[in-house]
C-alpha cells in the first residue's frame, strides 16, 4: 500500500475502533464507582488472613500468585531472549581493542562520577528495604529488585566500565537469576509437599506488621527481588557487551 492509502484506510478504521471502544466504555460505571466484588472481598480478607497490611502484595504473591509466577517468567524469558538475540554470531568477532574506541564507558565529568558512585550504596540499601517491606508498605520484590538493579548501573554511568563488568560477573548473576526464578516456582511446591495446593502459603504467618510475617509471601518476594535485579543487570550487560565489544567481521557495519 502506498503511505497515503494506508493512512486513509487506517484513520477510517481507527475511528470505527474508537467508536466501538467508546460505546463499550460508556456502559461502564463512571470512574470512582468501582462496584466490586473481587477487590472488596480481598480488602476485607487479606489483613486477617495473610497478616499483610499491603493488600496488593498479598494479591501478587498469594491470592493471585500464579499470575506473578507467569509474570516473573515473562521477564526471565525476555532476558534469555535478549541474551539469545545479542549473542556473538558467526559473522561477528570480538573487537581487539574495545577500550580505545569506546573510551571505557560514557564520558562524565568528575563531579558527575563522584555523584553517581555515591548513589550505589544508598540505592542498594533502599532496594533491599523495599523488597523486605513489601508486605507492609508499597513495594515488594519487583519494585525493590528494580531499584537494586540500578546500583551497578550507577557504576557504569560513573564511567567505570571495567568495574561494572567486575561487579556483574555473568557467572554470579546468571546463578542469581536462576535461583530467583526457579526458586519462585519451587516455592509453589512447598504447598504440594505440605499436602495442600500448589503455591499455598504454608509457612508461619507471623505477627501482622512485623517484617518477618506473611509466610511465603516474604519468601517469594525476596526471590522475585533477586530475579528481577539479576535479570535487568544481565540484559544491560549483554547490551553493553554487544555494543562495545562485538563487531561484524570485516570491522564495519554493512
Amino acid at each position: 500500500m502506498s503511505p497515503r492509502i494506508r493512512l486513509a484506510l487506517f484513520v477510517i478504521s481507527l475511528l470505527g475502533f474508537a467508536a466501538i471502544f467508546a460505546a463499550g466504555a460508556r456502559e461502564l460505571k463512571p470512574v470512582g464507582q468501582y462496584p466490586g466484588p473481587y477487590g472488596d472481598v480481598l480488602n476485607a480478607a487479606a489483613v486477617p488472613e495473610r497478616h499483610t497490611t499491603d493488600v496488593v502484595t498479598a494479591i501478587n504473591f498469594d491470592y493471585r500468585g500464579f499470575d506473578t509466577l507467569g509474570e516473573e517468567f515473562i521477564l526471565f524469558g525476555s532476558v534469555m531472549g535478549v541474551l539469545l538475540l545479542l549473542r556473538q554470531t558467526q559473522d561477528e568477532r570480538r573487537k581487539e581493542n574495545p577500550e580505545e574506541e569506546a573510551g571505557g564507558g560514557p564520558q562524565a565529568s568528575d563531579a558527575m562520577r563522584g555523584f553517581t558512585l555515591a548513589l550505589v550504596g544508598p540505592l542498594a540499601v533502599f532496594g533491599l528495604y523495599i523488597v523486605l517491606h513489601g508486605q507492609l508498605t508499597p513495594g515488594g520484590g519487583f519494585q525493590g529488585g528494580l531499584i537494586i538493579a540500578t546500583a551497578p548501573l550507577m557504576v557504569y554511568l560513573s564511567g567505570r566500565l571495567e568495574e561494572f563488568k567486575a561487579v556483574t560477573s555473568p557467572h554470579v548473576i546468571e546463578v542469581a537469576e536462576a535461583v530467583g526464578a526457579g526458586g519462585f516456582a519451587l516455592a509453589g511446591f512447598l504447598g504440594l509437599l505440605a499436602g495442600r495446593n500448589f503455591l499455598a502459603n504454608v509457612l508461619p504467618l507471623g505477627k501482622t506488621g512485623n517484617v518477618f510475617s506473611s509466610g511465603t509471601i516474604l519468601l517469594i518476594s525476596v526471590l522475585t527481588g533477586i530475579e528481577v535485579a539479576a535479570g535487568i543487570v544481565l540484559a544491560i550487560r549483554a547490551f553493553l557487551e554487544h555494543a562495545l565489544e562485538i563487531e561484524l567481521k570485516g570491522g564495519k557495519t554493512r
Binding site: P3, F66, D67, L83, A181, A185, N197
Partner: protein, 611 residues
C-alpha cells in the same frame, strides 16, 4: 470434597518446565550439551505423560484446581483456577508432544548458544500449557504474553539475516497489539462484573438485567476475540504469520504452525463458551454468519497464497492460514459437534504440519535451500523421505480415513446440521489447494517432474541452520518426522476418537455446567454421547479433495501442456495472486492497518447484528 476430580498433578505441566528452564539457565555455558538435551527432552516427555494423565482424568470428569487452595467463597472466585476439560488437556498434550518432537529433531541444532534454546523452548512450553489449562481471564493473558516473549526471541534466532529480524519484529509488534487489545476487553469485562474468573464473568454477564447484550459486552467480545484471532492468524490479522514462519528455525516453525496458532483459536473459543455463550446465545445465527465469513476469507486467502509460493516454509505457513480458516468454520457453527470437529482436526493437523516442517528442515539441512525451484530434482536421492512427504501432503488434503479427514468429516456433519452445509465445499477447496501445493513441491523436488525454469522471482537466500555436511540425514531428524507422520495417520484410526471428541466438546460448550463446576464445586453427571458413524458422503468429499489436490498439482507442474482454456484460467488466477501478494508487503504499518480494519469490521458487524 465432592465435585470435580481432585488431582495434585494439575499445576505440574506449567511448574516443572519453568523449574527446569531456570536450572538450565543457571549454568548456561557450564552444563554439558548432552545434559541440557537430556533434561529438556526429559521434561517434555514428563509433560506428555502428565497432560495425557490429565486428559484421561478429564474425559471422565473435568478437573478444577485452585492455585494456593483459594476455593471460591459464596460464588466469588478469589484465586486463580485451572479449569481443565478434555479439550484443554488435549491441547496441552499436543503442545507437549510437539515440543518433545522438536527437541528430538533439534538434537544437532543450535550448537553455539549453550542452553539458551532449551530454556526458551521450555518457557514456551510452560506458557502454552498454562494458556490451555487456565480458567482465569487475566491469567490467560499472562500465559499468552509468556508464549509471546519466548516466541519472539526464538523467531529471531538467526540474527545474521535482516529478513529474520524483520520477520520477528513484525511478529512481535502485531501480536503485542493483539494482546493489548484483548487486555482492553478484559478490563471492560472486569469493570462490568468485578470478576476475572471466566466462569464467574460468564455467570455475572448472563444474569445481568438486559435481555439483549449491550455495547460493553459486544466491545469486549470483539476486542478479546480479535486479540486472539491475531495469534490464530485469521484474515485480516494473519500477515505476521508467513513472515515469522519464513524466517524462524525449523523446530520453532513446527511449534508455531503445529500448536501456537491453534492456541490462539483455542483462546477465542474458550472465552466464547465460558464467558459469552450465555449472553450472546440469543443471536447465535447472526454470530454464526459473522464468524463464518471471517473463516471463509481465511481459508481462501490462505489457500490461494499457499499455492502461489515456491519458498517451502512460506508455502507451509500459508497452508496453516488456510487450515486455520477450516478450523474457524468449525468454531463458527457454535455447536458442540463443531467443536468436536476442530478438536480432532487440530491434533491431526498439528502432527502432519509439524512433520512437513521437519521435512523442510531436512531439505534445508542437506541442500541448504528450501526453494522449490532450486531443489528441483535434487530429492531423488532420498526416496523414502519423498514418499513420506507426499503421504503427508495427501493426508493434509484430507485423505480418508486419516486424521485431518476425520476432523473435516465431523465438521461436514455439524455444518449440515447448522444449515451451513455449503461451507464444507470451501473447506474441501482449501484442502485441495494446500494439499496440491505440497504435492507439487513433492513431485518437483523428489521426482524432478514439471518444468524447471519458471522462476517466480522469489530469492530465498535461506541460511543453513546446521553445521553438518551435505550427505545423509541424521537419524533423529528423520525419526522425529516419521513418528509425526505415523501419529497423524493413527489419530484418524483410533477407536473412540469421535466419541471422545464429542464428549470433550460437550464439556467445553456446557456453559452452565462449567460455571457450576468451577464456582460451586458441583458434580455434573457426564453427558452421554452416542456418535453416529461417519456418512458415506463425507468419504466421497474427502476423496474428492485429494483428487482435486492431485489435479491442481498436475496443472501447476505441466502448465504448458494444458489446453488453452485452462491455462488462461490459471493466468487470470495468478494475476489475482499478484494483487494479493502486494498486500503481503512485509510492512508493519500495513499489518497494523489491516488489524485495525479487522477489529472495526468485527465490531461493526456485531453491532449491526445485535441492534
Amino acid at each position: 470434597m465432592a465435585g470435580a476430580t481432585i488431582t495434585q498433578v494439575a499445576p505440574l505441566p506449567v511448574a516443572v518446565p519453568l523449574v527446569v528452564a531456570a536450572l538450565l539457565a543457571g549454568g548456561r555455558d557450564r552444563w554439558p550439551r548432552s545434559f541440557a538435551d537430556a533434561a529438556a527432552l526429559g521434561t517434555a516427555i514428563f509433560n506428555v505423560v502428565v497432560t495425557a494423565h490429565l486428559l484421561a482424568l478429564s474425559l471422565v470428569q473435568p478437573i478444577v484446581y485452585w492455585m494456593g487452595g483459594w476455593w471460591p467463597r459464596a460464588g466469588i472466585a478469589i484465586g486463580i483456577s485451572f479449569s481443565i476439560d478434555a479439550i484443554g488437556a488435549g491441547t496441552a498434550l499436543l503442545a507437549s508432544v510437539l515440543v518433545a518432537a522438536a527437541f528430538v529433531f533439534s538434537l544437532k541444532y543450535f550448537e553455539s548458544v549453550g542452553t539458551l534454546f532449551h530454556v526458551l523452548m521450555l518457557v514456551f512450553l510452560a506458557g502454552m500449557c498454562g494458556f490451555a489449562l487456565t480458567g482465569d481471564l487475566f491469567n490467560l493473558f499472562v500465559w499468552f504474553e509468556l508464549m509471546g516473549a519466548a516466541a519472539y526471541a526464538l523467531c529471531g534466532y538467526k540474527t545474521e539475516d535482516p529478513k529474520t529480524l524483520q520477520g520477528a519484529l513484525n511478529f512481535a509488534v502485531t501480536n503485542t497489539v493483539g494482546a493489548f487489545l484483548a487486555l482492553t476487553g478484559v478490563a471492560l469485562l472486569y469493570g462490568r462484573t468485578g470478576a476475572l474468573n471466566m466462569a464467574q464473568i460468564g455467570h455475572a454477564l448472563a444474569s445481568g438485567t438486559q435481555s439483549s447484550p449491550d455495547a460493553l459486552t459486544l466491545a469486549s467480545f470483539a476486542f478479546i476475540t480479535c486479540g486472539f484471532l491475531v495469534k490464530a492468524a485469521a484474515v485480516p490479522f494473519h500477515f505476521w504469520l508467513d513472515d515469522a514462519h519464513a524466517v524462524a528455525p525449523t523446530p520453532v516453525c513446527m511449534l508455531f504452525s503445529g500448536v501456537m496458532v491453534e492456541l490462539g483459536l483455542y483462546g477465542a473459543v474458550r472465552v466464547y463458551w465460558a464467558v459469552f455463550a450465555g449472553v450472546l446465545g440469543t443471536h447465535q445465527a447472526e454470530l454464526r454468519g459473522i464468524i463464518t465469513s471471517f473463516a471463509l476469507l481465511t481459508a481462501l486467502v490462505g489457500g490461494v497464497m499457499c499455492f502461489a509460493q515456491t519458498h517451502l516454509k512460506r508455502l507451509l505457513a500459508f497452508s496453516t492460514v488456510s487450515h486455520m480458516g477450516i478450523m474457524m468454520m468449525g468454531v463458527a457453527m457454535l455447536t458442540p459437534s463443531g467443536l468436536a470437529a476442530i478438536a480432532v482436526y487440530v491434533l491431526a493437523h498439528g502432527a502432519v504440519k509439524a512433520a512437513l516442517f521437519c521435512y523442510s528442515g531436512i531439505l534445508l539441512h542437506r541442500f541448504a535451500t528450501v526453494d522449490e525451484m532450486e531443489l528441483y530434482g535434487r530429492g531423488r536421492v532420498m526416496p523414502l523421505t519423498g514418499a513420506l512427504f507426499a503421504l503427508s501432503a495427501v493426508v493434509l488434503a484430507s485423505l480418508p480415513p486419516f486424521g485431518v479427514f476425520a476432523g473435516e468429516a465431523i465438521l461436514g456433519e455439524s455444518a449440515k446440521r447448522a444449515g451451513y452445509g455449503w461451507v464444507t465445499f470451501v473447506a474441501s477447496l482449501a484442502a485441495a489447494l494446500t494439499g496440491g501445493a505440497v504435492l507439487r513441491v513433492a513431485a518437483r523436488v523428489f521426482l524432478g517432474w514439471g518444468e524447471k525454469s519458471e522462476r517466480q522471482g522469489q530469492k530465498t537466500g535461506e541460511k543453513r541452520e546446521t553445521k553438518a555436511g551435505r550427505s545423509g540425514t541424521p537419524a533423529m531428524m528423520s525419526g522425529a518426522a516419521g513418528a509425526l507422520v505415523v501419529a497423524a495417520l493413527v489419530i484418524g484410526l483410533a477407536p473412540g476418537l469421535k466419541r471422545g471428541a464429542e464428549k470433550a466438546a460437550l464439556d467445553m460448550a456446557g456453559t452452565s455446567d462449567y460455571q457450576a463446576r468451577v464456582l460451586d464445586n458441583r458434580t455434573i453427571p457426564a453427558p452421554s454421547v452416542k456418535p453416529a458413524p461417519l456418512e458415506p458422503a463425507e468419504f466421497a468429499r474427502g476423496f474428492a479433495s485429494v483428487l482435486g489436490a492431485l489435479a491442481l498439482a498436475g496443472c501447476a507442474l505441466f502448465r504448458r501442456r494444458l489446453p488453452r482454456v485452462a491455462s488462461a484460467g490459471l493466468r487470470s488466477l495468478s494475476s489475482a495472486v499478484v494483487a494479493q501478494r502486494k498486500l503481503h508487503s512485509g510492512h508493519i504499518g500495513d499489518y497494523i492497518t489491516w488489524l485495525t480494519i479487522g477489529v472495526a469490521a468485527m465490531g461493526g458487524l456485531l453491532s449491526l447484528a445485535f441492534r
